[in-house]
């Protein structure tokens, strides 16, 4: 199946998704990688409110190449980063902040898969390294948080139009395209 979806996203939509489906996303996505995940989880533990709302939202594992020209941010190249580094944080983030879609590359682990089932969320794969193609779907930088973490590690709030096709690689029914026939 091929889906087009706009943010915010509800649980019903996500529960329909099955591995192998394709999704195009329009609306708002939040780039979050290593340091932002770590900071977010620390805030959750301390009971603090993050400065942005991920409820029904989309997390994109991405550290864009962004440059400021004439006081405006330009997203030059913005493909996904390796999602597995976020495995230790993602379960907590999904459970507490309820984003519905996670976009990344390379797949995630058992804990995330379990949380996707429990909360109702899905992990989507976008081809790693396709940075210019991904940036072509970014229409605007709406905001940027935690720029003190550095350009790649900051949280970029991006307005995207038909971002995709993303492949549903881990769904809310416990299926994952990363499960192999052999054991590692």
């Amino acid at each position: 199946m091929i889906y087009e979806v706009s943010t915010p996203i509800d649980e019903n939509f996500v529960r329909k998704l099955k591995v192998g489906d394709l999704v195009y996303i329009s609306g708002v996505v939040f780039t979050l990688r290593d340091r932002a995940h770590s900071k977010l989880v620390e805030m959750i533990r301390k009971g603090e409110e993050p400065p942005f709302d991920l409820y029904g939202g989309v997390i994109y594992h991405c550290g864009p190449l962004a440059v400021k020209r004439n006081d405006k941010w330009d997203i030059v190249s913005a493909g996904p980063t390796t999602s597995m580094r976020m495995e230790i944080f993602e379960g907590d983030v999904i459970r507490r902040l309820k984003p519905r879609l996670i976009i990344g590359k390379g797949g995630m682990g058992e804990n995330t898969l379990k949380t996707l089932i429990e909360v109702g969320a899905a992990y989507l794969a976008y081809p790693g390294g396709a940075g210019v193609l991904a940036a072509s779907a970014v229409k605007k930088v709406l905001n940027v948080f935690w720029l003190d973490l550095g350009v790649p590690e900051a949280v970029w709030v991006l307005e995207v139009e038909k971002f995709g096709p993303c492949v549903v690689a881990m769904d809310s029914h416990g299926k994952s395209l990363y499960k192999r026939g052999y054991s590692t």
Partner: protein
């Protein structure tokens, strides 16, 4: 900037946005061979991205990586001049948004902001006939799964194969397959790693001149492509586009092996200056 720094700046920009023709062909071939729909879609998008990056002169991947320069020079080119020119070019490319500010302090994780720090960019020198500057760009996705280890010599060629295949299985979709693999065998742990990096400068399909090594390259490529990891780890026939091995003599009691992964966006290039 002087002529040398300008030439290096142009090399950096070209390597970041213009994928080598042999690499693009290898991806196109993988697209033909592949029969999984999902993997085919990934490869199609990668090829589309390569064209778009070339057309718009934008970096292929937002992870503009770390830059490793292999320089062959005769003595009239002073090391300091070349190293200064490299830093000048890297700083300019970073300030123009052509390189992401990737280089950080390993402990504080604070960014240097301009991609220049002690030991970075990485520069390897060797004595040659003229000034030749080769650039290899590697992102963290592929670097983070690379590894080096000293094996017991008696494990032999089979032990080497086992280590390489196991590394690819464990790396799975993380290094952005279809990958290229540089393997360094022998020397010492540091030399093996340098050789594995240098092996990645070879063109796709260029086999080692040592028949035993060439045979091992082909066998490893076949073994890796039977794993079913596929483009982006989503399952498929093509997991690796090529395997390159470089070798050096080693201690009778050791067998150093380094395995360096490179993503599909195998960004490399070189210039010769007289």
């Amino acid at each position: 900037m002087d002529d040398l720094a300008s030439a290096i700046f142009d090399l950096i920009c070209d390597v970041q946005s213009n994928l080598p023709e042999d690499v693009e062909k290898a991806l196109a071939r993988a697209y033909e061979i592949e029969d999984s729909d999902v993997a085919k879609l990934q490869l199609k998008m990668l090829l589309e991205n390569v064209k778009l990056a070339r057309e718009l002169k934008r970096p292929i991947c937002q992870d503009t990586g770390l830059l490793t320069f292999f320089i062959s020079a005769e003595k009239k080119h002073f090391i300091k001049d070349v190293e200064e020119a490299i830093c000048q070019a890297v700083k300019k490319a970073t300030s123009l948004g052509l390189l992401r500010p990737n280089v950080v302090n390993p402990l504080t994780r604070i960014s240097y902001g301009d991609n220049c720090a002690h030991g970075n960019p990485i520069i390897y020198w060797e004595v040659g006939e003229e000034l030749e500057i080769s650039l290899l760009v590697k992102g963290a996705g592929s670097e983070n799964v690379s590894l080096a280890k000293v094996l017991d010599p008696e494990v032999g060629v089979e032990g080497i194969k086992e280590m390489v295949v196991k590394a690819v299985v464990e790396a799975d979709g993380k290094p952005c397959p279809p990958i290229f693999l540089g393997v360094g065998i022998g020397g010492t742990i540091d030399l093996a790693t340098k050789l594995a990096k240098k092996a990645l400068l070879r063109r796709v399909g260029e086999r080692s001149r040592d028949p035993l090594v060439a045979k091992l390259e082909v066998e490893l490529l076949e073994a890796i492509n039977s794993l079913g990891i596929g483009a982006m780890g989503l399952g498929g026939k093509v997991t690796a586009l090529d395997v390159f091995i470089e070798m050096a003599g080693c201690h009778t009691a050791s067998l150093p092996i380094a395995i360096v992964f490179q993503c599909w966006a195998h960004r490399r290039g070189s210039i010769r200056l007289t």
